[in-house]
């Protein structure tokens, strides 16, 4: 199987506190990987390392042809070669945030049009066409000219997914995409992710939605205190986990 993402021995410290301690895993094309673990276990940090929003101290991240090694570069004023590297990687990696982070001064359509025109220099017309298609796909056909503040949380998150898809990424990353949502709106967002999975999108999801993980994931990673303690198919993780910490965690979440 073709490995699209390889993470190798990733370490990250916040001052003296270790956030990630030697994490390694791989993701194949079209796989949906779910990362679970108790709060503060480092799963969001790990996800943010994958597109360089978070820098790491040692180890490497490879996504497609992009390979990141930063050797403790400082968060501010990255060396320019690293900056360029990060930018190219991010063009291939879409990111969806817990708090949506839509651009409030732009309409939903403009949110999805901006990056392709600015970054990829796609023509306005072409970008709009593509954005309309994507927004229709996520069920926002009649909300394109609204401002984010006029939408429900579920609609906003679907718009954010469309915005990320507009860059035609090879990988989609989700950082607790449904945690800020009213329970009744969670389903509509998970459905989009399910639909993308069916279409063969490679996705990495940090979430507390265990049912979603069990039903849809190809692979589940369990993190605890910055360590990857277990990595297996959902059947194994949810029915016969090997690690005591996984069992403890699942007892509380199921």
């Amino acid at each position: 199987m073709d490995k699209l993402i390889s993470v190798n021995n990733l370490h990250k410290n916040y001052g003296d506190a270790a956030a990630l301690r030697g994490i390694s895993f791989e993701v194949s094309v079209s796989e949906l990987t779910v990362i679970i673990g108790p709060s503060g276990c480092g799963k969001s940090t790990l996800l943010r390392c994958l597109n360089g929003l978070e820098l790491f101290d040692s180890g490497s991240v490879r996504i497609g042809e992009h390979e990141l090694k930063m050797n403790g570069a400082s968060q501010h004023h990255l060396p320019s070669h690293l900056n360029a590297q990060l930018r190219h990687l991010r063009e291939d990696v879409g990111m969806v945030f817990q708090s949506f982070n839509l651009f409030p001064h732009l309409t939903v359509l403009e949110n999805a049009v901006l990056a392709p025109t600015v970054v990829k220099k796609v023509s306005q017309q072409e970008a709009e066409e593509q954005a309309r298609t994507l927004l229709t796909k996520v069920g926002l056909k009649d909300r394109m000219d609204y401002y984010p503040s006029q939408l429900s949380g579920g609609q906003q998150q679907r718009a954010a997914i469309a915005r990320a898809l507009a860059m035609s990424p090879k990988v989609m990353l989700y950082d607790e995409p449904t945690s800020a949502l009213d329970p009744s709106l969670v389903g509509e967002v998970l459905n989009i992710m399910r639909q993308l999975d069916d279409e063969g999108m490679t996705q990495v999801v940090v979430t507390h939605e265990m049912k979603f993980a069990r039903d849809v994931a190809d692979k589940v990673l369990v993190l605890s205190e910055g360590e990857l303690i277990e990595s297996d198919s959902p059947d194994v993780i949810f029915t016969s986990p090997r690690d005591e910490r996984t069992r403890e965690f699942l007892r509380r979440y199921l």
């Binding site: 597109n51 929003l53 004023h77 900056n83 930018r87 190219h88 991010r90 063009e91 990696v93 879409g94 990111m95 945030f97 708090s99 982070n101 839509l102 651009f103 409030p104 001064h105 901006l114 990056a115 600015v118 970054v119 990829k120 056909k141 009649d142 909300r143 000219d145 609204y146 401002y147 984010p148 503040s149 006029q150 954010a160 915005r163 990320a164 860059m167």
Partner: protein
């Protein structure tokens, strides 16, 4: 009679005492402040002859002694010392800004105003003047290499400097009219700046009272006098209208000083004895016996204006205020603010995102420019920069000065606005593959702009009013026009209220514009505004 007066005095006193007792009990600090007032009032002894002048005026009138700047010297000090001796009162100089000398006299800050004050009809409406103590005309100065300018008629199309509110200024205004406007007059606050600007080429000629020219132009080898003395004016000592007795004493004392030759000795000492004054003194000496006639000469009828005349006068102020002052104020303010807004944004971005040395420089700039007075910055730009070869025209200097100063404030507004944008916005933009610069340009700055509209509007209004300060670098804007009107008519209240009203009315459209922009750009608030329904119905068209 005496008895009656004593009794009434006594009753008055007891009444006063009674009324004061509970007052003191209520406010224990009242006796203290009364003491303070007493102490402050103490130096005003009846025998002192207090007279007002402006030591900033310069040589040879009044100036700080170059050897001991705390001491004021000048031919007018000598004149008043001699006059005080005649009147057997001690002459005491009171510093007062020149523009405000006559208002200060009327307010009672001093008994006489003496500082090269020309005897004019306008002023005679306000105060009485003594017999003239000095006569002179205006002297034209040019650069030593200049040979084409020999009289006022040669000034057509030239840039000429002079002192504000002076006879020279009026002569130049007249010439400008005769030339159909082909003459640029720059009016200065003090005496040496015009000659500096003549030396460095900003001006092509300077027309100035002869004694000033003798002191500031003649010693400068790069400059020379040209043409004959132009015009004639008489300096008089200003006395309050109700002070007829003092006026009489002053006139008699002046005559005595003229007769004894003391006054001439003073002028000789200062090197300003001239033909005109010689003729005047000869004439005055002949009429020495008829001092009543002299009093009449100075006693002008106090012309009280009727209500109708007053309105007509105010109406007459409007063209100058509206068509000369206001457009210049508007122009300087708008250009200054445009500079401040763009430059301020660069400073804010440099502080937040530029590499260390550059962000440090931007920080230092902000602290320096908001921490030092705008007035001094303007002086440095206008009078300081020519020393290193940068000679800005008044309007450019005004715009640059205001713009550079306000840029420091705008930078802080932007910095606050940018930092108020949630971090997630930058992260979302970066994770879409945008560069930091693209994220700033498309995502962060547009949102920050909306946030900073109120404080930036605030600063624009402040700049609008601060623009009045550029009058010190020869700009004729609204406040300068006000100053000219007020000084001509001694009407600080009427002209002041009119000018303030014009500032206020000119500022209003900008306030409205800002409100409009705020409402229009506040996209995330649209959902709670009244336009919500319209918005939703437009957006909710059936697919």
């Amino acid at each position: 009679m005496n008895l009656v007066r004593k009794i009434t005095e006594q009753t008055e006193r007891t009444e006063k005492d009674e009324s004061r007792i509970p007052f003191i009990q209520l406010f224990p600090f009242v006796p203290l402040s009364l003491l303070l007032i007493f102490l402050l009032a103490f130096p005003v002894k009846a025998q002192d002859l207090r007279w007002g002048g402006d030591a900033e005026g310069g040589a040879p009138y009044l100036l700080p002694d170059p050897k001991n700047p705390r001491r004021i010297i000048g031919f007018e000090i000598d004149l008043m010392d001699a006059l005080g001796k005649q009147l057997k009162r001690k002459s005491v100089f009171v510093q007062n800004q020149w523009d405000g000398l006559i208002p200060g006299l009327q307010r009672g800050s001093y008994e006489l105003a003496v500082n090269g004050i020309e005897i004019t009809d306008d002023r005679k409406e306000q105060v009485n003047f003594s017999i003239p103590y000095y006569v002179c005309g205006e002297q034209l100065s040019v650069r030593a290499t200049e040979n084409s300018i020999n009289s006022i008629a040669d000034l057509k199309g030239k840039i000429v400097g002079t002192l504000k509110f002076s006879l020279a200024h009026r002569l130049l205004e007249q010439a400008k009219k005769d030339f159909g406007g082909a003459l640029e007059i720059r009016s200065y606050e003090n005496q040496n700046n015009p000659y500096d600007d003549l030396t460095n080429g900003r001006l092509q000629a300077v027309l100035m009272d002869w004694p000033i020219a003798v002191y500031y132009s003649k010693p400068n080898p790069k400059l020379k006098f040209t043409g004959p003395i132009i015009g004639e004016m008489q300096y008089g000592i200003a006395v309050r209208k109700d002070d007829a007795e003092l006026l009489k004493q002053v006139n008699e004392a002046l005559l005595a000083l003229i007769r004894s030759g003391e006054l001439r000795a003073i002028y000789d000492k200062w090197g300003i004895w001239n033909e005109e004054t010689e003729k005047l003194f000869a004439k005055l000496s002949q009429t020495e016996q008829k001092s009543d006639a002299l009093n009449e000469f100075t006693q002008t009828v106090s012309a009280k204006l009727t209500w109708r005349e007053r309105v007509k006068r105010y109406w007459g102020y409007l063209p100058a205020l509206l068509f000369v002052g206001a457009p210049m104020t508007l122009l300087i303010s708008v250009l200054g603010m445009a500079l401040a807004i763009t430059y301020g944004l660069l400073l804010a971005l440099a502080q937040l995102y530029a590499p260390k040395p550059l962000s440090w420089l931007a920080r230092a700039y902000v602290e320096l420019f908001r921490g030092t007075p705008l007035l001094i910055q303007l002086y440095l730009i206008f009078y300081g920069l020519p020393n290193i070869g940068i000679r800005l025209s008044p309007i450019v200097a005004a715009v640059v000065g205001l713009g550079m100063n306000y840029a420091a404030y705008e930078a802080e507004n932007y910095r606050a606005g940018i930092q108020a944008i949630p971090r997630g916005q930058m992260e979302a933009a970066l994770s879409l593959g945008m560069t930091r610069w693209q994220s700033l340009r498309h995502i962060i700055v547009p949102q920050a702009m909306r946030l900073v509209i109120p404080p930036v509007t605030n600063d624009f209004i402040a700049l609008f009013k601060d623009s009045s300060i550029v009058s010190v670098i020869t700009m004729v804007e609204l406040t300068k026009v006000y100053g000219q009107l007020a000084a001509t008519y001694y009407d600080y209240i009427g002209a002041g209220i009119l000018t303030a009203a014009i500032y206020f009315l000119m500022g209003l459209p900008f306030v409205r514009l800002a409100r409009w922009a705020e409402a229009r750009l506040a996209t995330d608030k649209r959902v709670v505004t009244t336009s919500k329904k319209r918005w939703l119905s437009v957006g909710a068209k059936p697919a």
